[in-house]
């Protein structure tokens, strides 16, 4: 067993885990963070995308022990005081989800993308979410939602002022 100390969605945890435990399984099975989903075995689908120290990662490709000392944000931690993150709002407004299975990972990746590129054009959005698969939407409304959220999150926009920005970090 190995020990992992990690902050997830603002709460500190210390747990003994099997060294082989993947971060996604730790989140789901130990912490009950079942909003983060598993869709494949090969890091292709991105359903498990979370933020590790402000950067998006596929949590199936990270060992829980690699997150030791880190801050993890999941889909369950981005709404603030009951107010949805602008990307969450935009996904609803633009009908960017159907079955909803890719949605948590897609939203987390979109937030990361907007952290790197606050005003992406269509092609930049498409390339920025290329690692997240969706089988329902054909992506068109996801692209719309990400671009709409970008406008909302622009400095000075009404939506931006009361929005948590810490999770939108990302970036090089």
């Amino acid at each position: 067993m190995a020990q992992v100390r990690v902050t997830v969605d603002g709460v500190n945890y210390a747990d003994d885990v099997e060294p082989r435990t993947l971060l996604v399984h730790y989140l789901r099975e130990r912490l009950g963070k079942t909003g983060t989903l598993v869709g494949c075995d090969t890091s292709n689908c991105g359903a498990c995308t979370v933020h590790l120290n402000g950067q998006s990662v596929k949590s199936c490709s990270v060992l829980a022990v690699q997150a030791d000392g880190a801050e993890v944000t999941t889909i369950e931690g981005i709404a603030c005081d009951g107010k949805l993150h602008p990307v969450q709002e935009a996904f609803n407004e633009k009908h960017a989800l159907q079955c909803g299975y890719c949605t948590p990972g897609m939203i987390m990746q979109a937030i990361d993308l907007l952290g790197d590129n606050p005003d992406p054009d269509e092609q930049e959005v498409r390339e920025g979410i290329e690692g997240n698969l969706c089988r329902c939407t054909g992506y068109q409304n996801i692209v719309r939602a990400v671009q709409s959220a970008a406008q909302k999150m622009k400095p000075g926009s009404p939506a931006q002022t009361d929005t948590p920005v810490s999770v939108a970090g990302g970036g090089n």
Binding site: A47, H95, E122, Y139
Partner: protein, 826 residues
């Protein structure tokens, strides 16, 4: 009396954002894999790596000694050797049906078939132990090619059946009396210098539905009823079929489909794993969970399509079509799925599409192979039919030197001719092909793109432009029960609904159509809000739990709105009729003098009235109500449609092909769909987008390949290439509406339209781009390699196809490139 609210506040047609989203965008909801119960045990399946083999021994010793393992079981250990999974569609009286076991016990028939199961305290321990189960196999010859499988002396998948032919199903318009004889049409065309007989072979490759949520179930035997949570499209059918399969009384089963992460037909099955979980829950008395890996899903969840289509069309030289002869071979895989043998038959009535063929014959032979079984995948039979007819209409246009859209116009049913009874005996109630086509051609700039195409051809541009057409129709709304009966389908096609008026004025709507992403909660709320004149927010739609929604036939075949939605309307009409009686009583008026509008019952010519919520409360209090009725507004309805619905549309694609590399770039996609009346344009647009992506994926990206040993070589998302956002453009989608006359809402269904229509539009555009170079066909998926090879071969150059079992380096579970096992640098 119609029960419409004030027209200015109608919900119908409003682009409501979805009610369902709040729990999905926050990660709050629980998909099946998040159901965890105390004492729960985890099941993992030991699967055969071989396609066809005799099982000569199973050594469980090491697995049983593995940490956390409760037990390792074969079919014999569980006493289920005699149990077979159901096929509900015996398409012919003499159809050959093999037993489809829960676990293979003497012979495995496809790679991925379960041989044993491990039960352990954790999922990880179950998977670890599964690797330790030693199964000895004596390999048998795999059966992979449908045409070879039908030859004399072929290796038999199921020797006890004496043949690899499952069934042959024929529809002949001459014999049926719905049209004339195809044999006569072909003879006449052959004898007539002014006619043409054209034959083409098309291949529908094997596809994988690839829903994003892997299949899963949890079975809890600890209550009076056994509760099954399952990632399924069909909780009601699963309940009934669990009884049929295992003998558990239906009344002792509760099936819950919580939020389900997509289905596309891929989750309509009754699974061996589900039945094993029930059997093991009964055996151990503990809750059992099964959750498949993606590789298991790609390997063992049912596949779709996989047909060889031999099509003969006859026509006059002026373009008038005179006959269509369809011969299909359809790969069933190793066993029959729940409706697998009937999937090609669902296409039988759609090959004539929107065209006025006088003669049509359809002959389909279903074939067993040692591959994963096939069953419904979005469109189920209709994409195959639409592909064949739209492809051969283009081929005919080329042969006759007629512009492809003009050829279609010459043959389609005109607006004035509806209702129109087709050569297969279906009556299309409404449609307007001229309108959808005109609108699509304008939005597409058809003439402009044709000019550009001419210019590029003339200048020998290395990037050539292709334009593809698909003017499609489909039959939706499965289905009139009598029609299903005539096709020997093992169920009806009705749908059930209930409406409960709560004491506080809120409304519960119960539907038997269980959603898995379609947005039923939103669309059905809109319908009920209008019918009852209550706020959208006050309507709660309940579904997907057989104890809450006890009656239903679930969601597939674009049926939820056109069947389930109408059942809701019928239930609402009953609620209003009951409320009207109570309103008349309370308002001391004759029932004939009561009017209902916008949620209020008023006495004609007075300002006296009561809101439906007040009536609901009065019924709850029951202090004062008419003597000849119960104090209750609730109502149930079961709706059985009289006809299918027939959405149609015109889809146009423009592709640019780099003739030096073969790369296909989808530049523009325009579609105008006539799906009748639209309840929620936002949801409709989403359904069309997603449908297009799947149809385009068949044309350009996806194929399930087997190697010569019968092993699936695309067993991960590395190799089975779903399109990503970067692979697709934005689509230009819109709708026109000729309301269906077969139902009171005028709706037609939209769930499958995009998938059915788009595949031939894309392939027609690819071939259109290359035809002047001598290319006559490119098989799907039209990958860069295939397109490049087609161009080279048209030039007379020889090419070599990369073997289909060439894995991507690093792909697969072992991360070993089998073509370079030592990992040498090449």
């Amino acid at each position: 009396m119609t029960t419409t609210a004030d027209p200015t506040t109608l919900e119908f047609g409003k682009a409501r954002t979805r009610k369902e989203d709040a729990r999905l965008i926050t990660g709050r909801t629980k998909f099946t894999d998040a159901i965890n119960l105390h004492g729960m045990l985890h099941l993992h399946v030991v699967r055969s790596p071989l396609a066809h083999a005799t099982i000569t021994g199973v050594d469980k010793t090491a697995a049983e000694a593995s940490p956390g393992v409760i037990g390792v079981y074969t079919a014999a250990d569980l006493g289920v050797e005699g149990v077979g999974l159901p096929c509900a569609w015996p398409i012919t009286p003499d159809m050959k049906s093999p037993q489809r076991p829960l676990l293979a016990h003497t012979t495995v028939h496809f790679a991925g078939e379960g041989v044993a199961v491990v039960l352990a305290r954790s999922a990880a321990e179950a998977r670890d132990a599964a690797d330790l189960v030693e199964v000895d196999y004596e390999p048998l010859e795999p059966v992979l090619n449908m045409e070879d499988a039908l030859k004399e002396g072929a290796t038999l998948v199921h020797p006890d059946l004496g043949t690899n032919e499952n069934a042959t199903w024929v529809f002949d318009s001459g014999a049926a009396g719905t049209g004339s004889s195809i044999d006569e049409a072909i003879s006449a065309a052959e004898a007539d210098a002014d006619s043409i007989v054209l034959k083409r072979r098309f291949i529908q490759q094997r596809l994988i539905p690839a829903f994003m949520e892997p299949r899963a179930c949890v079975v809890d035997p600890t209550g009076e009823q056994i509760t099954v949570w399952a990632a399924t499209q069909v909780p009601h059918i699963l309940r009934t079929m669990t009884t049929v399969t295992l003998g558990v009384p239906e009344s002792k089963l509760r099936v819950i489909a919580p939020d389900v992460g997509g289905g596309f037909g891929g989750k309509i099955g009754v699974l061996p794993e589900e039945m094993l979980c029930v059997a093991l829950a009964q055996k151990t008395g503990k809750p059992i969970k099964w959750n498949e890996t993606r590789s298991e899903s790609l390997l063992a969840a049912h596949h779709g399509r996989d047909q060889i289509q031999d099509i003969t069309i006859t026509a006059k030289r002026d373009g008038t079509v005179t006959g269509l002869d369809v011969h299909l071979l359809a790969d069933m895989g190793a066993y029959l799925g729940l409706v697998g043998p009937g999937v090609p038959i669902l296409g039988a009535f759609m090959f004539n599409s929107i065209y006025k063929f006088p003669a049509l014959k359809f002959t389909c032979t279903n074939v067993f192979t040692t591959k994963t079984l096939t069953d419904a995948y979005r469109g189920a039979g209709r994409p195959e039919a639409t592909f064949a007819i739209e492809r051969i209409m283009d081929e005919l246009a080329v042969e006759l030197g007629i512009e492809p859209m003009e050829l279609r116009k010459k043959n389609w049913i005109t607006h004035e001719e509806f209702p129109f009874t087709t050569v297969v005996g279906l009556t299309y109630d409404s449609g307007n092909y001229e309108q959808a086509t005109a609108q699509a051609m304008e939005a597409f700039d058809y003439a402009g793109l044709r000019r550009e195409q001419e210019e590029r051809r003339a200048s020998g541009d290395k990037v050539q432009l292709g334009i593809g057409i698909s003017t499609f129709t489909e039959m939706c709304g499965l289905a009139p029960s009598r029609v299903l009966g005539s096709l020997s389908y093992g169920a009806g096609g009705w749908e059930a609904a209930s409406i409960r008026m709560l004491a506080t004025g809120k409304v519960e709507v119960i539907t038997g159509a269980s959603a898995h992403g379609q947005g039923h909660e939103t669309a059905f709320s809109q319908i009920v809000a209008d019918q009852l004149g209550v706020p959208f927010e006050d309507v709660e739609v309940l579904h997907g739990d057989t104890q809450i929604s006890p009656k239903g036939l679930d969601t597939y075949g674009s049926r939820s709105l056109v069947v389930g939605g109408i059942a809701i309307v019928k239930a609402a009409e009953k609620v209003v009729a009951k409320a009207k009686k109570i309103a008349a009583h309370l308002l001391e008026a004759s029932e004939d003098d009561i009017e209902f509008s916008g949620g209020t019952f008023t006495v004609k010519g007075t300002d006296k009235g009561k809101a439906i919520q007040e009536i609901a409360f009065a019924a709850f209090m029951a202090h004062d109500y008419p003597e000849d009725m119960e104090p209750n507004l609730d109502a149930d309805a079961v709706y059985d449609p009289e006809n299918f619905s027939y959405p149609h549309g015109t889809h146009l694609a423009a592709v640019e092909i780099d003739t030096e590399t073969g790369r296909v770039n989808l530049r523009k996609y325009v579609c105008v769909d006539d799906i009748g009346t639209v309840v929620n344009p936002l949801i409709v647009e989403g359904q069309v987008h997603g449908g297009l992506a799947q149809g385009i994926a068949q044309a350009l990206f996806e194929e399930a390949n087997y190697d010569d040993q019968g092993t699936l070589v695309n067993g991960t998302f590395v190799d089975y290439t779903l399109p990503s956002a970067a692979d697709l453009p934005s689509f230009d989608t819109s709708t026109v509406s000729t309301p269906a006359t077969s139902n009171p809402l005028g709706v037609k269904g939209v769930g499958e339209a995009g998938t059915i229509a788009s595949t031939p539009a894309i392939v027609n555009s690819v071939i259109d781009a290359l035809r002047h170079l001598g290319v006559t066909n490119v098989e799907m998926p039209c990958t860069s390699q295939r397109v490049w090879r087609a161009i080279q071969e048209a030039k007379g150059n020889t090419t070599q196809e990369t073997p289909i079992d060439t894995h991507s380096p690093g792909a697969g579970l072992g991360s070993i490139d089998p073509n370079n096992p030592q990992g040498e640098v090449q």
